[in-house]
Symmetry: C2
Subunit: 209 residues, 2 copies
């Protein structure tokens, strides 16, 4: 599928064909491609929890205002934004950059200092912003990639975050920006017209820049 | 270009061909397609400032640790996450949903209450999280759409946010999650190999879910 067509045809669907599965092999391919999303200094501060079995979906549905599509979709992805991504991946990023020729060894400390300055301490607000924005880039990549696999999606942030953390054993310092239902459009469904988008002039400022 | 290919070939490039322009017509098409990104309750809490003229790029470069690509790219997009997106768009979203058949009139107040509960007050932390995640979905859509136009990008968050706000007249309550350079890869450039990504097992939890 053409990339522009994929973006134009991506819709957040409300009706999934039930009884469908997202097999391991397709899951892996979809996730690995989505994981090519860019991130701040390549720190990749996201994790993914894949919910596929009926009992887990029932639990997740209860955490998310009883939204039916959670049980009907083939899988639901819990997108986890990880403020600890800096500590987890920093050394590896810099080693990798050195190895590939992105960075000279003498520049290493400068990057460490810059990253600490930009993204603050592990429990700071800056660090949460860092995690949320990057995890959201990953999430959007995933929704577009899904179209390439003939899959549809629906991102949701109507849920009780603490309940999801408790039920799915997610540490309190993480943030869950959204969960995403993934599956096949229910056969015979006609989508309603796309909801409005603002006109270019309403949100774009050109000015004299 | 195929959507999976576009995601695989999207790279954050460091060397843009100088002297290129992003004409109005292409800019508009690119932005309108990117703007089809999903958002929480379709509230679209993002704005975009497009920086194309040499003097404005010089100013922006100074706000962003002197990164050369800001001046070399055809354009740089300042992605603005707008916590005020709820107040700006809520009534319009609900009117539109009612008109298109997404929502019955009697459900309207329930949505208003839910949105206020989920995204808090205008100056709250919740509201900033809401704005940042949604603006980042838009940003990723934009970077992928760019590939469909033969354009490359580089998202950056190494900048002094307050300086950008001051120079580009952005109100203090907004958040700038990233700026994105857009343009053409410098002729004759060979990209270094892609930096590492974590293996599937390192960031995906399947467990018994």
């Amino acid at each position: 599928m053409d990339v522009i067509q994929a973006i134009k045809e991506r819709r957040s669907i409300n009706f999934f064909e039930t009884g469908q599965e997202l097999p391991d092999e397709q899951l892996r391919e979809l996730v690995e491609i989505s994981n090519l999303a860019p991130s701040s200094f390549n720190l990749q501060p996201w994790k993914l929890i894949v919910v596929r079995n009926p009992e887990s979906k029932r639990i997740l549905r209860r955490c998310a205002f009883n939204q039916r599509k959670i049980e009907e979709a083939a899988a639901v992805f819990i997108i986890v934004a990880d403020p600890g991504g800096v500590e987890e991946n920093l050394e590896r990023v810099l080693d990798n950059w050195e190895e590939l020729g992105y960075m000279k060894p003498e520049a290493r400390q400068g990057y460490v200092d810059m990253i600490q300055n930009l993204y603050g301490q592990p429990n700071s607000l800056k660090r949460k912003f860092f995690a949320i924005k990057n995890a959201s880039l990953f999430a959007m990549n995933l929704m577009i990639a899904a179209k390439g696999f003939g899959l549809d999606t629906h991102p949701m942030d109507g849920f009780d975050e603490d309940s999801i953390k408790r039920e799915f054993d997610i540490p309190p310092d993480k943030v869950i920006p959204m969960i995403i239902a993934v599956g096949h459009l229910k056969k015979g469904t006609t989508l309603l017209p796309r909801a409005f988008r603002r006109r270019f002039e309403e949100f774009v400022r050109l000015g004299s820049y």
